[in-house]
Amino acid sequence: MTERSVAGVGIGLRRELADQLFATERSVDWLEIIPENFLTQGGWRRATLERALERWPVVSHGVCLSVGGPEPLDTDYLEKLRRLLDRLGTPFFSDHACYERAHGLFFNDLLPLPFTQEAALWAARRAREVAERVERPLVLENITYYAEMPTSVLSEGEFLRLLLEESGCGLLLDVNNVYVNAVNHGRAPRDVLFELPLDRVRQIHLAGHEREDDILLDNHGSAVCDEVWALYREVLERVGPKPTLIEWDTNIPPLDRVLDEADRARDILHDVCSGARAGFDPLENRDVAL
């Protein structure tokens, strides 16, 4: 079996953009899918995925794992996910450091856990089990949280560091989430960023947000803001080249607008990282035999 490595800048494989994507000659280094759209669905969805796989590496970014939730892991879901990941052939998969299910209900949102040692260790134990069942490294994303949950005693950074170190998981660093959380909780974005376990960053997300009253909402519905671009540059300076995704999932514009954002990310990636390591090409994609 051959795994396809992921490098450079990718975008999400979204229904609204698929036809334009297959027609474009502009640079797209890799694609990201929401696996839940493909675990039980075939037809045009599966055909779209197969067509994408002919041309790009495709990584899986789940939204339903509920790694911190109170209920037993859904083994049927994990088995379906494992089979899909086998087909994708990418070296890791990701989901979020949160919960989505509790007490038999599914909330269709990424809900924050209390930042406690108990919650971090609970989620870490489950994350290890997930990675074992799915037979690949799991990477967890820092989510946006609009309220710190009661009983929290750790900072977000301390919580994530404990969770990731105990589980062995990588960090999918969503830089927009860092910015949104910092603003929403009255902190300096750089302080929030550098508290996170950046040594574990495996992938990066960039996205837009919107303001609703006194809250910034992480809605993936606009261009990346200048502050987030600046943070992205600082992250790359700290962690080196990491595969970066432009997330644009609502108010989706024509593909060229999304690719403009990807080009900007790629320029920064080149600018920051090309000179940092001799002979390194941050956009290189290689086939790596397992």
Partner: protein, 228 residues
């Protein structure tokens, strides 16, 4: 000290809107972000349900909003209360929505056409994403549906008509196009329905000519409604 399990016991009813954020905080302690921010999660939950159902049933939503500005929100809230999501596949959450509307229609609470509209939207979705490995023979009720509606729902959807779907009996076939695997609809002739019935083992009436049946079959095959 509040345990994680106590946290979940308290947060779930708050997220469902069964208790307030103040009651939640009284059970597990205050949030440093304040009660208003905690209660924002209930707002997000309601918003998510609207988005999900609206994405699965955009034309039913359009018709309901046309009937009255509050109808769609009321329907979503009642559906969520009686059919809370329990599966990771969000489409499973939306699957019972046509039947839910049917119950309300029979009780005279919503126009009957909404059930038909939602049913049509659901089967169009289902036809497009049914895994190939599940399809046998004609793929009836998987990639090929035959429906008789009392309203012209395909025209309402295709032409983005305003108001509600027009009354009028219509037989509709929804099938998967072999070209792009997406759903298409067809208003079949009686002879074409006989062709489908014959493929299921029912002999057509003697009054139909072999030529008419052959022509109808050729058309259905060429469209991809039935296999060669």
């Amino acid at each position: 000290m509040t345990s994680l399990s106590e946290f979940f016991d308290a947060v779930v009813p708050m997220l469902r809107g069964e208790t307030s954020s103040a009651e939640f905080e009284a059970r597990v302690g205050s949030s440093r972000s304040g009660s208003r921010r905690v209660s924002f999660y209930r707002t997000l939950m309601r918003r998510n349900v609207r988005l999900l159902l609206g994405a699965l049933y955009p034309h039913t939503r359009r018709a309901a909003l046309g009937e009255s500005p509050e109808l769609w929100s009321n329907l979503v809230d009642r559906f969520d209360a009686s059919h809370p999501a329990s599966h990771w596949d969000v489409n499973e959450f939306g699957r019972p929505f046509p039947d839910f509307l049917g119950e309300l229609a029979r009780a005279g609470e919503v126009p009957a056409c909404l059930e038909e509209l939602a049913d049509y939207e659901w089967i169009c979705f289902a036809v497009g994403v049914e895994p190939d490995e599940n399809v046998r023979g004609l793929g009836l009720d998987r990639t090929l549906y035959v429906r008789e509606y009392d309203h012209d729902v395909p025209s309402f959807v295709k032409k983005e008509e305003t108001g509600l779907p027009r009354a009028g009996s219509s037989v509709v076939i929804v099938y998967r196009s072999p070209e792009d695997k997406r759903a298409r609809f067809l208003r079949p002739t009686p002879v074409e329905l006989c062709v489908i019935a014959r493929r299921q083992g029912t002999e057509p009436p003697d009054t139909l000519s072999r030529e008419a049946l052959a022509a109808a079959e050729q058309k259905l095959v060429s469209l991809g409604v039935i296999p060669r």
